[in-house]
Symmetry: C2
Subunit: 406 residues, 2 copies
């Protein structure tokens, strides 16, 4: 039994016509003789609509009840998907996370998959059925539903690929693959044939919303290849593969990413003594506020430091409130800068090739784009610039690094 | 532990404001020291919207998948209801049918409740929580979701009342109780304090959509009193009680019902030989087509019969198709009369008081309303009249039987 795992995201199943088209892909694979497991997300904006309903009832709904509520989105998705496959003449069964044997821990709204018992799925596959599994959810030891956090359907797909001992996990989405830069902004952007897990992780951190980061880590650890491709076009997309197999290893810069959904937070006049940075960051960590690009300046002659970081726009009020508390104690000041963009180059070997960073700074300078913050590692260089310069910077760098169509 | 079972229908939870108001009722009961179990239907039109989605994907979706789909309506309802109770400061947990221990057989879309294991519910009640259970659904032996058919949440509420050994089941709805006639049509209609199960069953058969008939039968069998009342007004509604306790037992006619949602089907020139009526009815039964008022005329001199019956408008095409087949074989003719209404008087002891029927016929004659069909039993007299005369007939009969405010 050769098993294919196919995951369809919410934009690929947002209306009945798209569900029929997505189902055609699954039915075609089944007719080729593959045993097909489909992982489906909630159609369209359903999760957000349910969350909005919840917040009309309670300012802070309990997470168990939130999971009970939003897990229905995927349940609607699998039932409709199964009906579509059936209407195309293929025997199909839908399974919720619990029915599929996906066991999760009790961390509601951000649970981990503990184990998958594939017995039921394998039995249905043996009967020749397409098995359509609800992503994003599992059953807790208390028989509750728990969801896996944003992008959790990717994680479900990867975990099922591993549990079913399949080799490839296909991620069907509304883009054709991973590009050297967002093709909506950079007209010459090129689709990559392959990219390494490390680079994809850096791209995810740089704001490219192709796949959930956690699912990439799990796929790499279990030796699963991922194929990111379009739900609406038959052509191959981009393969995410271990580094040694990465077809593009020799290219210094693989791709660029522009993130306009983060703000810069500065804490100025922080006393220069041990433990202060840790204190500030632990305030953020305690509230699960994601941060990127943490920078601390060298202490000034007055014995104070400045700390800056980037955080998603949606978390800015929460971050500001948490830091204001710390700032009062430390007699420091907190500022939030809204109109910024983060531009990143992702690749490999940057540490040994300083020209990569140099070319970024030169290019931005040539275009009179001021840089607010810089962070560089071996795999990524990120600069924060004014929001209004973001797209021009992306186009200029795409050209400077020669990433366009060959 | 004194347990109160409170059921809220879809119209009582159709938006967040209504859910908050309904939750207030549950929270108030809990604060009075009662252990509260709430049964919730799908909010508003959600079930119908999901069914419409399903039919855009498949002309005849599989019933297992339909159940997987539409059971999400109640799951959304319980999660939102629980959040509302929590936001009012009361510890609450929502449970799907499966989580609540409601076991159903595998007759998808019209399942029966086989057993209820109340352990989980009782454990949560003992912790002081309000327990909010999804109506309309149960778990099958194969770990699938099965739904209980239209009005199934009433059945869930009654079955839970029995399993939890509670005495009363409160049915909260958008009307204030059971009336002598539809108050939207008859201005002098009076709310009944009490009515017997038999009369309620006849009213349900006569088209009054207060409660699902099957749930009434179960309640009567298990000695459960039902209180039908408004979700939005605190006043008492109507008690449905066993016959011997019926406060209105002496009144000949308890209530009238007008049903404009049925059509009359006639099969004319049917050969007069044994088994023909059975053959015709079994064609309808095989397709689960509900029928009422089956009448067969005495055979004419030509040796043919005429059979007439009433069926819900929604089933008319299905009924016509099924009967056309039988008609071809029998050389009979099938006609559907769309513009008819069924008017019924419900009460007790009609057999021994022929004046009840006589008054109906007199009253209609006085108003020049022609009667197409009559069926009378001990508990109900129904006449079919022209649709355009239905409301006038209802008002005239309400007055003739003296049912108005005392």
């Amino acid at each position: 039994m050769k098993i294919a795992v196919m995951k369809f995201g919410g934009t690929s199943v947002s209306d009945p016509e798209k569900i029929q088209r997505a189902a055609q892909r699954a039915v075609a694979a089944r007719r080729k003789g593959l045993s097909v497991v489909v992982v489906v997300s909630a159609p369209g904006e359903m999760t957000d609509e349910l969350l909005a309903l919840a917040h009309r009832l309670s300012p802070k709904p309990k997470e168990r009840e939130l999971d009970q509520l939003i897990s229905t989105g995927e349940q609607v998705g699998i039932a409709l998907f199964a009906m579509a496959c059936q209407s195309q003449g293929t025997d199909t069964i839908s399974l919720t996370g619990a029915q599929a044997g996906i066991e999760a821990d009790g961390r509601h709204t951000h649970a981990y998959i503990v184990r998958i018992r594939p017995g039921k799925m394998l039995a249905e596959l043996k009967k020749g059925k397409i098995v359509v599994v609800a992503g994003f959810q599992g059953r807790t030891p208390r028989n509750d539903v728990a969801t896996l956090g944003r992008g959790g359907s990717d994680l479900s797909a990867v975990a099922l690929t591993s549990a079913l001992k399949a080799k490839v996990c296909e991620i069907f989405t509304d883009v054709k693959g991973v590009y050297t830069a967002d093709p909506r902004i950079v007209s010459g952007a090129r689709k990559l044939k392959g990219i390494s897990f490390e680079e994809m992780l850096e791209l995810a951190g740089a704001g490219a919303e192709v796949m959930q980061a956690r699912s990439l880590e799990v796929a790499e650890r279990h030796g699963i290849a991922i194929h990111v491709r379009s739900a609406f076009h038959p052509k191959a997309g981009t393969w995410i593969v271990p580094k040694e197999k990465n077809m593009l290893e020799k290219a210094m810069v693989s791709a660029l990413a522009l993130d306009k959904n983060e703000v810069r937070v500065s804490i100025t006049d922080v006393p220069d003594r041990p433990g202060v940075a840790a204190e500030i960051l632990s305030m953020l960590a305690a509230q699960d506020i994601p941060v990127d690009m943490i920078i601390q300046s060298a202490p000034s002659r007055e014995g104070v430091n400045h700390i800056s970081l980037m955080t998603p726009r949606a978390f800015a009020p929460k971050a500001q409130a948490a830091l204001a508390q710390a700032a009062r104690r430390l007699k420091a000041r907190v500022d939030v800068h809204e109109h910024v963009a983060k531009i990143s180059a992702v690749g490999t070997g940057f540490r040994h090739h300083p020209w990569v960073a140099a070319r970024m700074f030169e290019t931005l300078a040539k275009h009179k784009i001021n840089i607010h913050m810089i962070v560089a590692s071996d795999l990524r260089i990120s600069c924060v610039v004014d929001l209004r310069h973001g797209e021009a910077a992306l186009r200029a760098l795409h050209k400077a690094y020669g990433l366009g169509k060959k």
